[in-house]
Every structure is written in structure tokens, then in C-alpha cells.
Amino acid sequence: FLTFEGDLKWDHTDLTYRVMNYSPDLDPAVIDDAFKRAFRVWSDVTPLTFTQIHSGEADIMIMFGSREHGDGYPFDGKDGLLAHAFPPGRGIQGDAHFDDDELWTLGTGIVVKTRHGNANGANCHFPFIFEGRSYSRCTTEGRRDGLPWCATTASYDRDKKYGFCPSELLYTNGGNSDGSPCTFPFIFDGTSYDACTTDGRSDGYRWCATTASFDKDKKYGFCPNRDTAVIGGNSQGDPCVFPFTFLGQSYSACTSQGRQDGKLWCATTSNYDTDKKWGFCPDRGYSIFLVAAHEFGHSLGLDHSSVREALMYPMYSYVQDFQLHPDDVQGIQYLYGRGSGPAPTAPAPVPTEEPQPVPTEDPQPVPTEDPQPLPTEAGSTSTTEEEEETPEPTATPIPVDPSRDACEEKNFDAITEINGELHFFKDGKYWTHSSFWKSGIQGAFSVADTWPGLPAAIDAAFQDVLTKRVFFFAGRQFWVFSGKSVLGPRGIEKLGIGKEASRISGALQRGRGKVLLFSGENYWRLDVKVQRVDKGYPRATDDVFTGVPLDARNVFLYQDKYHFCRGSFYWRMTPRYQVDRVGYVKYDILQCP
């Protein structure tokens, strides 16, 4: 990691932020939530706190803009530069700016959050069935008021769940009309408009009057992008018009015709040949959460990292199941200490090229570069049969303070039942809790003493019911212990788990030698005997385990029920897939005072 010259950092930990304006690509509520989660990435590992304010000067002012947007560092249109931010300090220092010529999403395509209807603001489900037809975008079918709507499940015909799509006919953002919808036609500068316009502005944002005459009332708002809004081209933000004519042919969907790069585009009037108005159709877009988490790293004093997997690496890459990399954690804790640790410290007077992390109360486990197993080529001789692998000690054992209290921990790396007792793992330590023996919590014990060769930070563990072997997962590696003898580390690709799984977050033992392994929003069924996942996996967790957090940090089976943990809470689910309890890990399961 790197900090800025002079180790610029905030001299207080209770930081404030203010969102000056919103991108029309996403509902402001989605943007607010993404920024909140992006700040939580950093507050989870430092003493820093972040409070959103809605007026006045905040430490971190956040804005969307395109091209030259007022700071002398212009953006560059779609792709290329996505955002930038300034290191801590007064005025523009600490601020974060996002290029609004990008398509802002959560990284996997447009997020169409509904309003009103009967789905409590749920996102559209595309495609959906309505009156027997399939729709892959919002529609005004079935309505006389021209309001675009969508189903929030796969079938409106079956579920009757729906909501209204973002549109200027429903609401506006910002401006001075408290979100009132546009009034069409409206008069501006003596001209009548029957659609949103960028006229009168130099920042390219589409706006409208919310009364019949802007000239008279000066009431206006910014138009939210519809789900069919184009990006770039010469009509940014305008919705596609279907069907449209291009080179004499009629098109009812986006097309790559006329281009050599395969990019999908559409016309924003009914005839491209005469009007030449066009733009690119929505793609996966860029995750506002991931880019914001990176930029806020700059706002807090981190410069770019050269570790490819680190959040502070300068290039964007989408990850589904985000985890802060140890390099990022070391960097931010070098500046501000750790969550429950000492107050921010003055960094060492002469920072070396690689600043030495400030010693915290217990020595940080040194993340080692575990020997990466060589990727097996398809059809290679190596099979998933258990190969004898001499375990490489991947981490020097960390002296563990046995008096360390499990109730002090905010969360755990892994939770699972081994030999009838719940085990709680954290940073090379573990505690046990038996519901059978009323002996309360036992530990802290050293992981390295019981399972030599494991890294200090693991992601998941489970005990195979039949063989009593214990599987551990960290990143994309796994270890199999029989007592103290270990097989591994091996790559989880040997189990047949693809690259989309960056880590395993938990496991549920099923009957007949099967175990469900969870990663991100998917799960795989592992056949423990052959050590391969079954065909037809991964499957979406939400399809079966409905109502539990899809970004659970721990998943485990305990007393025949499924437990999904996130933050301080757990969701307990019966084998019939009903959530029958939501409670506190600490007070209900660990039974802390």
C-alpha cells in the first residue's frame, strides 16, 4: 500500500460526508446505500465513523460530473477515467468525484428500483411475464397513463407484484421541486418542450420544468434515466425509441448493426436515418459501491496499491463478493489504527517506501503468500483424488492470549460445529461453545496448535459427518485435516468451483456425504467422498434460502437448523427453508452477558 506524501490523514475520526448531487442512472436511495456500504468498508477496520449530512460543508463532499466539472481535472467520457478523489484536508481535499458519462450500476447491469405499486420498492425482475408475453424492460402496456412499470418477480400473471419504473413522469431528482414530476409541455426561454432537455445547461444533465412555464415559475428538477436510457452517443440519457429505422430497416431492440466493435446501440428518435440521434445501450456498468470504496480510500489518505487484488489498485475490476484485502487493511490501519485499537497515531517521522505498520496491541499475523497450487490444465493427470501433499507451514503460529474473550469480537472468520461443539474462529484464535456441557465458552485456543499449517485468517470450515475430517477454506484454497495430519493447501478449482467464487463463506452439511458450499450469492453441492461438486451447480442462494442475507459472512448448520450470519445478527432457517428466528450471534448463540 502507499499513503500520500507526508502521510496526509484526518486529525479527527468522526468524519462527515455530503452527496452534492446524484447520477440519473440510479435511484438516489440506491446511491446513498452504496456510499454508506463503501464507508463501512473502512469504518469496519478503523476507529473512523462516517455521518451523512445534507447541508453545509462536510469533510468529504461527493459529486457526480462529466468532462470539466469544476476542479481542473476533467473526466474523459465513457470508460477510461471513472472517478477521482483528493487526500485529506480542508476545502476540496477529501472530496470524491464520479464521472457521470459512465453507467453507474452495482456492477452487473442496470438497477431499476421501483416506486409505489405493491412491491415495497423492490427492483424490477427482467424478464417478466405479463399477459403471457415476456418483457425485458419496463413497459407502459396495460396502462392508459403512459407510466412505465415492471413486475418485481418473474411472472406478473402469477404473483401480481409490480412497481413503477424510474421516469420523469413519476419524479425528478434535485432541483427545487421536492421531487415533483415533470410537466409537459413546458415553456423555457419562450420555447415549448415536451421532453426533458439539456438546453440551458453546460453539464449535460437532463432537466424539465415541474410547472407549465419555467420562465414564469422557475420550478425545475433533474430527470431520472429510464431503464432504456442510452449512454454516450449524442443523446446521453434519452430513452431508446422502439421501433426505429436504421439504413431502411426497422429495429425493435438494441443492435450492433453499423458497428465493428459489437457494441449495442439504439436510436433515440423513430428514424436514425433522418435524425442521426443515438446512444449506447446499457451494459454491466461500473459498481458505484466498489468505485466509491476505492475513492474513499483516497479521501482517507491511501494512495494506489500495486497489489492487484487490493481495493486500492488503480484499475477497476468487478468482484461479486467483496472483501477488503489485507494490504488495504494494513494501509488504513497504518494511518488510523484498528477498530477497537488505539486512537489515530502520528505516523513514523520518516516514512520509508514501504511504511512499517504501527504495532497494535497484538502482533498482526503476517499474511503469507501461500504457495499457490499450480493450476491444473484441463485433462491433466492430476485428479481430485486426495493426493499426498506435504503441508507447507503457511503461517508462523501466533502466540494466542488464552484470556482473549470471544465476546469482545465484532464478528468471526468462521463458525462451525466440530465434534459436537460450536467453534468460533478469528485471526488465528478459536473458542468453543457446547450446548451440551453447560461450561460456557472455552478458549481462546490457538488454531495453529490444533490445526498446524492453516493461515491465520480463514473464511469457512466444516466437519464431514461421516469421516470426521475437518475442511478449512481460505481464499481459493482448502485444507483437509484428519486429526493433525493435513492434505493441502489445494485450490478449490480442484473441487470444480470456478473463478467466480473468490472465497467460501460457509457450509451446510446435508445427508449422504453432501455439503453445500456458499460463496457470494451462489452455492455448490460438494460430494465429499469424490471431492467434486455435483453437476448443475452453482445455484442462486436466493432461489432456495429465501429471506436470509445473500452476503452472509458465516453459514453453518447447528442443531439441525441453518444459520446465516451478517454483522451482529444471525438468521436461523428450518430444514423447510423457513426463517424462524433472527437474533444476536453474541447474546443468543455465544450467550455473552
Partner: protein
């Protein structure tokens, strides 16, 4: 339907077609993200200063350090990224 006639390629109005050569793209990138300075770029042998700056960028971004403007380096220069410089203030 299989294209009955060769696909027409259209120049779309307002499209940002980069007219930069690979070398110009590289020089602009290296300058923008702090791997070289105006002064360095102007003085000395152009090739030597370019190769030195490329090596510095390849090291920082974990690319193969060839000092050449190879495909991997060009791809990295075109990848979406943060606008904050990688080197210097």
C-alpha cells in the same frame, strides 16, 4: 437471419473515436499518472525515457516489466481506472 449483404459500417455523429496512436496514448497515460514528467519526456533519447517510464508503470501495476509498449501494457492503459495519479502528488 444470416446477413444477406455485407454489414454497412456507419460513422456515428458525436462518437468519441480515439484518433491517438498507441504511442501517443502511452505518452499521455504515462504523463497523466505520474510515470514521467514533461521535462523527462522532452529531454534525452525519447526511446530511453519512454522505456524507463514504461518499466516503472509495469512494475507499479504488476505487469511484466518489458520496457516495451506490448499488448498487455496497452490493454492496461485502456482499462477503466481511477483518475488519481499512481506516482507523485
Amino acid at each position: 437471419p444470416v446477413q444477406s449483404k455485407p454489414q454497412a459500417v456507419v460513422t456515428f455523429p458525436g462518437e468519441l473515436v480515439s484518433t491517438l496512436s498507441d504511442l501517443e496514448l502511452a505518452e499521455r497515460y504515462l504523463l497523466r499518472f505520474g510515470y514521467t514528467t514533461e521535462v523527462e519526456a522532452r529531454t534525452g533519447s525519447k526511446h530511453v525515457s519512454l522505456s524507463k517510464a514504461l518499466r516503472k508503470m509495469q512494475k507499479q501495476l504488476g505487469l511484466e516489466e518489458t520496457g516495451e509498449l506490448d499488448a498487455g501494457t496497452l490493454e492496461a492503459m485502456r482499462a477503466p481506472r481511477c483518475g488519481v495519479p499512481d506516482v507523485g502528488a
